[in-house]
Symmetry: C2
Subunit: 766 residues, 2 copies
């Protein structure tokens, strides 16, 4: 390398490192190039992004590599530095460990609290008020499996207050208190969200997808959000609203991820690296939500993440493992299994059953489409009409309706997870549920497996009617519930909805046959189909389902249902519920799944368009500080291309607005002689200036010398591909070496919306 | 759009479509631009690649989008076209279905054939010679579980030939015939491979990884390879060599994929789309190899594939499902399960056991490192010394040694899958294996689960010695076997090796305790650790292991062992066995897992380097046909940048060598007036020429108007990232709009090798 190249090289390094305190800032009046004035400190906030802006993945990656290099080269200097470099290398795994531990603990605490508070609506444990119904009667050691409801320590409110456990007045009192508790929980939840953490509402998955794709929403994953979301999640699930804790648990886990990543400079100072941690945290969240570590990793990969290198795969795997393991140690379900709804079927399935499974897939797809359409229509109404101005009232009304309708029906009164676990399970000999009220053969010669052969008792018919009503009610209420200003998840409600459905259909169908099918299996497949229709997951869904239930033998039915459900739902609209909500909120999210197939070229999308004012550019050696300041003031672009001269339009680099402002401010304050008519130089060596001219301002170090360019003839599909894969913020358009225009991520999104006949102006954060 | 833009647009479309039969080729002597001469047909082979070249992913994608657009616009013309467009849209799923069906069938046939031929080495079934030992005694209906060996229809060779079943001479005769059969199978296999399909050797996974990353190896996935690999795979597995059928099954499935994709023009004419099918086929291959459809999809994603859009995920999922289902219908294992080694443990594992599991992970990592080092050293020796010249002899010798040593030990004599299934299983009451030879309590009061409490009988100690010997032997022989010129897989041998190991250690350790651990679980975890060490898979490995065994409860132990094993093995070297073989063979494979962290810039890597002759370029309007031909003749570059003029060096596009040659040849044959001193024009409108000047040659349509450019200051890590993510063949380097040089994929690979202190010249196909 000769001297010039070396100089150039140093300059680039300085640019890349940014934070070097001894930043070279040559600006010698005599132009000798030997005297240099040093800035005392780097500009504050250089390398960070403003709120609601998009990050530049390539730059973040490059910054991380530099940091890594610096540590590696330092590590050879002393043992202390070597230890520090080791710590740095292991910090990724440490963060994963911490996330896993905290997410697992929080999930365990939430499970226990929900259990307790759900039962609190019905009564209280006299021996220890912090026990749930099950724990209360469990420790009392007086109950067998059958008379769980008859344990003396557990008192319904009516028993406690008016010493009456049966009769109409007791029923009404219990009913009333049930509703009051529910309203109380819901009101507390919605108030906490409104006052302390507005970002704690909703499922959080659409926003997390957007954040992971490179958007900045400050505070969305903050400590307050973490705290409030955890507390309100317990409250809303306990209040009996038709929502699940699974989506919000992913949000909670991501908040944990954000919190721990802020403890390590490797992650806190680099938005790209931070997103790797968040991807893994999302996996940990699903892992604890369903007790499905592998399903969690796949969910993160298939559904949530944007940039998912293999390294993140392994780390997610580790975080999900630790989280699941922590949850298992807390053991909130009291069965020392990872799995919430563990089922053990022994019946193999038959080829002929594939047809009903596929049918379930079709139903699931239809239900998914219907749900998305209705929910989005309702949410749009909420956004655009006066309805959206009364979120607290809305929550109160929905909670009241839910509680009033839910209480009389035993299948909606209890918590959804209890119900699902009952539906998934086969009837055993010990089962006391109404659903298993088959007339027992008094001689009991046949083994337990043959239970479905027995004629159904009256309980089964009652149960079926109640389930049918519960199904209709849940379907309707879930549409209104999802999207309210409280933490709300989707998984369990949609799984639930479907169970009922297939129970009713298939119970009737299969009872006559001696070689009867397993109804629990149909419930499982139905749940998968339904969730598949709503979220459009496939592989991760199947893995979650069989991790959830332990039904490994039934991969083929689950896969068949999931794929069918996706096909059917995709025929009516490509968007899953999360994409639909992203769209509704207008987040700038460039979906990997959408294919861009139009014939447009870069030249059709770039700005300036035909007839517009020419592109605002900086020149490398002819603009004064004042010119630059005027340009900054008059425009609101995030950055400016730097060209050789306005005539030649040959591109040499790109300068960020934010850094230009900071650099000029800094120079004006600290560098003597930099005045409004100082010339700004982006070149390597400013020419020798006449002695009386003002001190020049050298800004090469804030210049990005490797801006991304495409030619004007590049098809837009290639441009979209490049934006997606490289995570660009903007891209410059050239023709035969001349700068023509610029394409930003928002231009791309706007163009895609336009091509899909949507309103391009909806693509904006609002 | 004004007229010029429209013209330009048409030109680009023509370029993009390439195959348009009415390709515009303006070349009118008068320069009026109205008269055009049409070529009768497109150039043959335009848009294809030469053997051992890299494909351009962006271009392939763009070509596919164009094809798609054309079909969509045509579909509105008539019902027939509409049906054709529907067929086209569904052809992807049809191909997946066909691949699944064929791969499943082939796997079933291979399983059955291997079963039969393995037993053929020992004897023959008299009632029907095409029955394996098990089938023979099964149909005879005379055997209980205990005396499987004593069924009259099954005759050992000694019984058949000299009517003697016991005694030294019978043993020697059986021994001799066993070796003879093995040699016969191996010789047949190696000869078939050498004569008919040299590409059918090895596991195929390194080559498939390279092909999927965008390299062309013609015939590697051809019909002959498919046929010969299937036949020889049966032969070598039956011959008793220490190799598995899993890797080759992936190769077989990919051959199926290639075959079916050649039936649909959507896939046969587009190398990018074809690779999507191949990724899915690889998933189907693993799916049938292990009966693990989800594991197969993950394997394809984590280990094999390069470009894996979500669409491919769903299709792979479908192909894997169909393949597994087909295999289940064929039911080669006679247990109507998808799972080969189905185990059912009921013992939960304890926290304290996590330590031995992690220890197993450490051992697995160490074994993986050792195996890779030794195997690569041996393979390098084979490549460089005279050894490589006698592949047939090598196979014969290794087979002979394997057979001679294997026969006396019952654990090596039988097929590896039988052995693994015995090791995985717990001892039940009905088990007749020596390993379960615990002394039975004559009172038999305790339930079956308590078997490990009983004192071990002499059979257990014998079995342990035999297993220890088998372990050592298998480890050594596998190192020599993997890489020979026959189809060979790795999975099963490495899984096997490890089983023995942990059996020996943990059997001793656990026997005294009453609360004994499950030895089968240790075998399973050990297998996972070991495979993890060799292949460096993590998530897919765990999923495969639990799909293989049905041990869903043991995710945490499996995950712990897999992650530990990967960490330990990575500490000694980042390469897994497949990457090591890719490296050894010098395939141009740009690994996604390697991180490039050096400080070099694009300018350090691009050619021409300092002091070299300047870059060979074409000018847009000043070179004659002869000049171009001379340039093509004198250089061997795959393409040439086109600039405005040699002085300005402003880039306008890039022309492929192959297409230049074809276009000039075509023009000289068909276009009157194109002679050696015709001017070649890459511009839109050639200027009006004087009347007596030769007919110009317009080549704008073969010009790629959107070549990929980076600036000379771009850090190499960004360039590497761009090459990886966008799948480029080459990238042009500019500085302020002027063309400076070119970086090809091989330059990148050479530079990476140089930075890692390896010989850069090894990066080449050889």
């Amino acid at each position: 390398l000769d001297n010039t190249a070396l100089h150039e090289f140093t300059d680039i390094l300085v640019f890349l490192l940014h934070a070097d305190p001894n930043m070279v800032n040559a600006g010698d009046m005599n132009g000798s190039g030997n005297l240099m004035d040093f800035l005392d400190e780097p500009f504050p906030d250089v390398g960070t992004y403003e709120d609601f802006h998009t990050i530049d993945w390539l730059r973040e990656k490059s910054r991380d590599t530099d940091r890594h290099r610096k540590i590696t080269s330092k590590s050879k200097e002393s043992i202390w530095e070597f230890i520090k470099s080791l710590l740095d290398a292991w910090s990724g795994w440490v963060v994963m460990l911490l996330i896993g531990l905290l997410a697992g603990t929080l999930a365990g605490v939430i499970d226990l609290a929900v259990d307790w508070m759900t039962d609190l609506k019905e009564g209280v444990c006299l021996s220890a008020f912090w026990y749930s119904h099950e724990q209360c009667c469990w420790t009392s050691n007086e109950t067998t499996f059958d008379d769980r409801d008859k344990c003396p320590q557990w008192q319904k409110w009516s028993e406690l207050l008016v010493s009456q456990s049966e009769g109409a007045s007791a029923y009404i009192l219990n009913y009333f208190l049930y509703i009051m508790w529910a309203l109380c929980f819901a009101f507390l939840a919605v108030s906490l969200v409104r006052v302390f953490a507005p970002y704690a509402c909703g499922s959080g998955i659409p926003e997390i997808k957007t954040i992971l794709s490179g958007f900045i929403i400050r505070g969305y994953l903050g400590k307050w959000t973490l705290l409030i979301k955890t507390v309100t999640l317990v409250l809303v699930v306990s209040s009996g609203l038709s929502l699940g804790k699974e989506g919000p648990l992913v949000h909670v886990a991501c908040c944990c991820g954000n919190f721990f990543s802020s403890l390590f400079s490797k992650y806190s100072k680099n938005e790209g690296k931070r997103r790797e941690v968040l991807s893994a945290a999302a996996a940990a969240g699903v892992s604890v939500a369903f007790g499905a570590p592998i399903g969690g990793v796949l969910f993160s990969l298939e559904e949530v993440s944007y940039y998912f290198p293999l390294k993140t795969l392994w780390r997610s795997f580790f975080a999900a493992l630790v989280a699941a393991f922590t949850l298992r140690s807390i053991n909130p379900f009291g069965n020392s299994r990872l799995v919430l709804f563990y089922v053990e079927y022994h019946t193999p399935w038959y080829m002929a059953e594939l047809f009903p499974f596929i049918l379930l897939g079709v139903f699931g797809g239809l239900w998914g489409t219907l749900f998305i359409r209705c929910n989005i229509a309702w949410c749009r109404r909420r956004k655009t009409t006066r309805l959206g101005k009364y979120p607290v009232l809305e929550v109160i009304v929905i909670t009241a309706i839910t509680a009033i309708i839910a209480y009389p029906n035993p299948y909606t009164r209890r918590s959804t997870s209890e119900l699902i676990s009952e539906l998934f399970n086969d009837c055993g000999a010990l089962e006391s549920s109404q659903l298993c009220d088959y007339i027992n053969d008094p001689n009991m010669t046949r083994p337990v497996d043959d239970i479905p052969d027995r004629p159904a008792g009256p309980g089964v018919y009652t149960a079926m009617w109640q389930l049918a009503l519960a199904l209709v009610f849940k379907i309707v209420i879930t549409i209104f519930t999802f999207g309210m200003k409280i933490p709300s998840g989707l998984f369990i409600p949609s799984m639930l909805a479907y169970h009922h459905h297939d129970w009713i259909i298939f119970r009737n169908w299969c009872r006559p046959g001696a070689d009867c099918v397993t109804p629990g299996l149909y419930a499982m497949v139905g749940a998968a189909a339904c969730l598949g229709g709503v979220t459009r997951m496939t592989v991760s869904l199947v893995v979650i389902m069989f991790e959830l239930t332990g039904g490994l033998e039934y991969i083929v039915p689950l896969m068949a249902a999931a794929v069918t459900s996706k096909w059917v739902a995709d025929a009516f609209g490509k968007e899953g519920i999360y994409e639909a909500h992203i769209h509704l909120n207008g987040y700038p999210f460039l979906d990997v799944k959408d294919e861009f197939t139009h014939r447009t070229l870069a030249t059709d999308v770039m700005r300036p368009r035909r007839g517009e004012a020419p592109l605002s550019v900086l020149t490398q050696d002819s603009m004064t500080v004042e010119d630059v300041e005027t340009l900054i003031k008059e425009t609101d672009y995030n950055g400016f291309p730097v060209v050789v001269s306005k005539d030649s339009e040959r591109l040499i680099g790109f300068a960020q607005r934010r850094e230009l402002i900071l650099a000029i401010k800094n120079a004006r304050q600290r560098q003597d002689g930099v005045v409004s008519n100082s010339i700004v130089y982006f070149t390597e060596d400013p020419p020798e200036l006449p002695p009386n001219s003002p001190h020049p301002l050298k800004l090469r170090r804030i210049l990005n010398l490797s801006p991304f360019t495409v030619t004007d003839h590049t098809p837009m599909e290639t441009v979209v591909d490049i934006f997606r894969k490289l995570g660009l913020r903007q891209c410059l358009v050239t023709r035969s070496g001349r700068l023509l225009g610029i394409i930003t991520k928002k231009d791309v999104l706007r163009h895609m919306a336009q091509m899909a006949n949507q309103d391009p102006e909806s693509i904006m954060f609002n």
